[in-house]
């Protein structure tokens, strides 16, 4: 009992320490490092929200780009139109726009979920991948037909120059996502999602409305992806559809979650820093522009040799140690 309390106290202290370090990072790190950190935080949100739905329910989604891209593109269009000489959209503070982007992704994902979540396994993966590509394609067509915004949407200078705003908006989104998802996972809602992941039929028989929970889970995870995209928008000077709707946003979250380990929240927090630091290091040393090779090779190696990721490897080591300790005791 006391040990459990002590453990949770240590956990809280660790989280608080990490938060303080992250909040103070711009004051002791150079700008280049903070930019890498910002990218890590964005992908931490993405892999957390990917884990929240796909990791737990085992419905592998390969279409995260639909929501991240919509989040980024909506925010950039809104900011662009809001700061025109004749504003097309009413003025809103930046956080409100980001939350609005999240809500749009929530609605989009709810609609997509209703039609696609009746598929299972590989079919769901293919369908979500198709939807991800489809959303980007439709945006491209819309842009080309209406010319509502230029191909390269420039972002207002007051945002792109404010380095602190860029970092802290991403950090806020990360912290909010982490706490909300942790709370949701401990709630009845998280339990229902876990049950769906273990055995959907059994969950349905015990009275879980699986369709509702699946769709809602998918939509909530999309909300956070939209939030991540929206808060990341101002880190670019201008955006075009090719850079917004890249398949990286679909593939990297699953790779990161698998790398960390699908079992726990912490597993999905290990993946992003590790993968981004490795690829960033390789990009600056040997691989140059072809650093994406690392993603591919890492993905293949994990799926082949460590299907439970780094947390799985740690768990194995721990249980081996535990076994040793017991043997010592009995002898």
């Amino acid at each position: 009992m006391l040990k459990g309390k002590l453990n949770s106290l240590i956990k809280i202290l660790c989280i608080a320490a990490v938060l303080v370090v992250l909040a103070a990072a711009p004051y002791f790190l150079s700008q280049a490092y903070v930019m890498v950190l910002r990218q890590i935080l964005v992908f931490a949100v993405l892999s957390l929200s990917w884990f929240f739905f796909s990791g737990i329910t085992k419905y592998i989604s390969l279409g995260s780009v639909a929501f991240v891209g919509t989040g980024i593109y909506f925010t950039s269009i809104y900011l662009y139109c809001m700061h025109q000489p004749k504003p097309l959209f009413p003025f809103l503070p930046f956080p409100v726009i980001v939350i609005l982007a999240g809500l749009i992704c929530f609605a989009l994902a709810f609609a997509i979920g209703i039609i696609s979540l009746r598929l299972r396994g590989i079919y769901f993966a293919i369908a979500t991948f198709g939807i991800g590509q489809l959303v980007g394609g439709i945006f491209g067509w819309w842009q080309n037909v209406t010319r509502f915004v230029p191909i390269n949407v420039p972002l207002p200078v007051q945002y792109t120059r404010d380095f602190n705003l860029q970092y802290y908006s991403v950090l806020t989104a990360t912290v909010a996502t982490f706490f909300i998802i942790t709370i949701l996972l401990r709630s009845k809602f998280g339990l229902a999602l876990r049950m769906i992941g273990e055995c959907e039929e059994a969950a349905a028989h015990t009275g879980v409305n699986t369709t509702l929970y699946k769709t809602l889970g998918f939509a909530i995870s999309a909300f956070f992806m939209g939030l991540a995209g929206g808060s990341y928008t101002i880190s670019f000077y201008s955006l075009n559809l090719n850079s917004v709707f890249t398949v990286d946003y679909s593939f990297l979250p699953p790779v990161m979650v698998l790398l960390g380990g699908v079992g726990t929240v912490y597993g999905s927090m290990i993946g992003p820093p590790l993968l981004i630091l490795i690829s960033e290091y390789l990009r600056q040393t040997i691989a140059g522009g072809y650093y994406q090779i690392t993603y591919g090779v890492i993905l293949v190696i994990i799926v082949l040799f460590a299907p439970n990721g780094i947390m799985g490897v740690i768990g194995k080591l721990k249980s081996a140690k535990l076994l040793k300790g017991k043997m010592v005791k009995t002898s």
Binding site: I60, I126, L134, G137, I138, G296, V300
Partner: protein, 291 residues
């Protein structure tokens, strides 16, 4: 206008059908949904384009070289990467999901390596080759001779594959392993060898398709190769997984549909493919010819 859709759709459709048949063979037998198929196809086109642009080898001859090359690559890749998964996994679904993730890994790796090779060699920049560009008229539509040649080669290769699957012993084993893996094992089919053969055979088909694509597609790049993969994926879903005739008919159908959309709204061509993919998955996951 309709003549053009029909002629160009047939030309494209024959190639799509060849790609889809190969991918379908791989998925049907081994349950590996190879999303990196287009990248393997690109290796075939790279070999053909390199031989033609650097040494002037006739692409119809170098087609066999690239085919043998990819066949050997298959013998290397399958035991190295996929055999472990097939042996370890408890259910078909697990094999499917894990190999899908592996294939995405291969997609990243191969496409980056290919991009690096292409960008380092300016003479391979487009991968397209200047071969038989004489224009002839079919049904009142002007079309290059090489497109007609590729159409016939694709059809002949597909027919050879069909005859092989239908009338030979190894074809029987492949069909058996695809329809009833457990039963096939019981009657003495060496499943792991059949898996290896189907994997390599479909890579061989990919390389032939790639060589043909380099003859007719002036913009062949890694991204374009992925488009071929997704068109083929849609065709498989449309025609039904494991159905040869389904892939053939679906290929031509997709050729006509894409040409039709290109006529009206070129930017919507790929979105329409994806709409088809998602819609068929939801409405009739078995496909048109699925059992």
């Amino acid at each position: 206008m309709w003549e053009e859709v029909i002629v160009r759709g047939t030309v494209d459709g024959a190639l799509y059908a060849l790609i889809a048949v190969g991918l379908n063979l791989q998925y049907g037998v081994t349950k590996i949904l190879n999303v990196a198929y287009g990248q393997f196809l690109l290796i075939g086109s790279l070999i053909t384009a390199a031989l033609f642009n650097l040494f002037g080898v006739n692409p119809i001859i170098s087609l066999t070289v690239s085919a043998i090359g990819l066949l050997l690559l298959g013998f290397l890749v399958y035991p190295l990467v996929f055999r472990k998964i097939v042996l370890e996994s408890k259910s078909t679904e697990e094999i499917e999901v894990r190999s899908l993730l592996i294939c995405f890994g291969l997609l990243f790796t191969v496409s980056q390596v290919m991009t690096a090779i292409i960008l380092r060699n300016p003479r391979l920049l487009t991968l397209s080759i200047n071969f038989l560009k004489d224009v002839i008229t079919v049904l009142g539509v002007k079309i290059e001779l090489n497109r007609i040649v590729t159409t016939f080669i694709s059809l002949i290769i597909s027919m050879i594959l069909y005859v092989m699957l239908r009338y030979t012993r190894i074809g029987l084993a492949l069909r058996a392993a695809s329809q009833e893996p457990t039963g096939a094992k019981i009657v003495g089919v060496n499943i792991s060898r059949v898996h290896l053969i189907s994997f390599c055979l479909s890579l061989l088909l990919a390389s032939i398709a790639g060589s043909l694509a380099s003859m007719i597609n002036p913009y062949l790049t890694s991204a374009y190769a992925s488009q071929y993969t997704f068109i083929a994926l849609t065709i498989i879903v449309l025609g039904g997984a494991g159905s040869f005739i389904g892939s053939l008919v679906g290929g031509f159908l997709m050729g006509y549909i894409i040409q039709l959309v290109l006529k009206f709204e070129p930017l919507l061509a790929m979105p329409v493919v994806y709409i088809f993919l998602v819609a068929i998955l939801i409405i009739r996951p078995k496909g048109l010819f699925g059992r």
